[in-house]
């Protein structure tokens, strides 16, 4: 029932190239944004690196995904787990996932099994088993070590490259 309301709201939103929507039917909400790093020249001529929303990214471009879990409810949220399938056309950039305050694991089998990246084993086409490469990962998962207090937000992030 809440879902129908949210769909209605979604239609009212402008159809911009960048879309970041959150499901708002529960106490905890998750917000996902995609950004790119841009080299800019400030007014004083000095070079800076800033983050901007990712709207159009060419192949080879790196995108920073930030996922923010926010507890909008009145009670603590326990056992918070954020799961993110690595998007189609993207390759995870090795070592880029944040892990502070979380147990970070990955999947290579579509989310059936999870392990730290260095423990994931994949059988290659040649029949030889090897440790999973960044391109072979299918999902990332963060298990929050502490509950999310009412009103608290916590973010995790990772980077991926457009294939």
């Amino acid at each position: 029932m809440n879902k129908a309301v949210i769909l209605g709201l979604a239609l009212l939103l402008p159809t911009w190239g960048m879309r970041a929507l959150a499901d708002t039917s529960g106490a905890v909400e998750i917000h996902a944004i995609a950004e790119v790093e841009v080299k800019t020249k400030g007014p004083d001529g000095a070079e800076q690196i800033k983050r901007e929303p990712a709207k159009k990214v060419p192949p080879g471009g790196a995108v920073i995904y930030t996922l923010r879990a926010e507890n909008k409810g009145a009670k603590p949220a326990d056992d918070v787990v954020v799961t993110d399938p690595i998007p189609e056309h993207m390759d995870y950039i090795d070592g880029s996932a944040s892990s502070v305050g979380t147990r970070l694991t990955f999947s290579v089998d579509g989310g059936k099994t999870w392990a730290p990246k260095e423990k994931l084993q994949v059988r290659g086409k040649d029949g030889v088993t090897h440790t999973a490469t960044a391109e072979e990962l299918t999902h990332i998962r963060w298990q929050f070590e502490k509950p999310l207090a009412p009103g608290e937000s916590r973010s995790v992030e990772f980077r991926a490259r457009v294939e």
Partner: protein
């Protein structure tokens, strides 16, 4: 509820350049331009030890157009004959962009030989053509298009520089030429020159980034690429050496004869096609006008045969053989002289 839509607008920036990783150059064509990449994350949690329904959040962006192209020239010279048109150097053009494109073509003379020799002449005409039937060989009636029409992402096509070589150009002369291909929108999209989008994003417009390298005569990230080939003339180098020897004189006979009136002098004309020539020299005509103060000896090699060609007597009269003497001129025709071959013409005169 609407505030959950994240919408950060970029601040005012003087110049904004998207940082691409250095691995770009080695990557293949990549995801097609215009594809939407969608990331949906899920959060699971419990309240009071009761598992709650999963919640999702999504972030999308659109894959941009990344322009890249390469041209590959042949690995060595295209050999040509002087005084001919329709000489073609083939180049392979590859569209390594993630979108289809048209390509404009241009040919230019280059002063640098890509194969390490010395560029020392220019063709009189340079034209460009596309290999219409994809057989890798230039065919004048078939390969008539001068721009590449809608080359798919990751596809290749052969294009030609077609040139006219000036007549009389010396053997082993080299003319370097450069082909430049420039990205244009496809015909369906108007065919205009592709330009790179810099600065702030424009909503709902697919933007373009140049990722091409620097070719021979163009810069990196300019939407164009250039590569050079060269023609090398492989004609025949023909040389002529003339010597004279006094054979006899009326006073000394054949012993230490001197060049006194009445002496018989032998001229020998040696025509050589250089060993380094790539082709036989054909239709050679050697003419030798008698100098003043000498008289051609008409019967040196038999009655009426005053000319010797390689040991074969030639009659003075204009007839089927290769030698003629008329109006004070010895003329010998040689149909063909292979590389490293020589023809020796001998005749005698008397000093007046």
């Amino acid at each position: 509820m609407l505030r959950h839509m994240q919408n950060r607008m970029a601040g005012a920036l003087a110049i904004a350049v998207l940082i691409l990783s250095t691995a770009d150059v080695a990557m293949a064509v990549g995801t097609a331009a215009g594809v939407t990449v969608s990331n949906t994350a899920t959060v699971n949690y419990s309240v009071n030890a009761v598992a709650q329904p999963a919640i999702t959040g999504t972030a999308d962006f659109v894959v941009d157009r990344r322009i890249n192209l390469t041209l590959t020239a042949p690995v060595t010279y295209v050999t040509v004959t002087p005084g001919t048109a329709g000489n073609a150097i083939p180049f392979t053009l590859t569209n390594t962009s993630n979108a289809p494109l048209n390509f404009a073509l241009a040919a230019a003379n280059n002063a640098t030989d890509p194969y390490g020799g010395v560029d020392n002449f220019d063709p009189t005409v340079n034209a460009v053509f596309v290999d219409g039937n994809a057989n890798g060989t230039y065919q004048a009636g078939t390969d008539v298009a001068t721009t590449v029409d809608t080359l798919a992402a990751d596809a290749s096509i052969t294009v030609f520089i077609v040139s006219t070589i000036p007549g009389g150009q010396a053997n082993n002369s080299i003319a370097a030429v450069t082909m430049t291909a420039t990205a244009h929108e496809t015909t369906a999209n108007g065919g205009a020159l592709v330009t790179q989008d810099a600065g702030a994003d424009i909503a709902l417009t697919m933007q373009t980034v140049f990722a091409d390298g620097a070719g021979d005569t163009d810069a990196a990230r300019d939407g164009a690429f250039s590569d050079s080939g060269a023609f090398r003339v492989q004609g025949a180098n023909v040389s002529v050496v003339k010597t004279e020897t006094v054979i006899s004189d009326p006073i000394n006979g054949a012993v230490n004869p001197k060049h006194i009136p009445g002496a018989i002098v032998q001229y020998q004309v040696t025509v050589t096609n250089a060993a380094a020539s790539a082709v036989p020299a054909t239709t050679i005509s050697v003419t030798d006008v008698m100098p003043a103060n000498v008289t051609f000896q008409p019967d040196t090699y038999g009655v009426g045969n005053g000319i010797d060609l390689g040991g074969v007597a030639q009659s003075n009269a204009a007839d089927a053989d290769q030698g003629t003497f008329a109006a004070g001129t010895v003329t010998v025709t040689i149909p063909s002289l292979a590389p490293a071959a020589s023809a020796v013409i001998t005749f005698r005169v008397a000093v007046n």
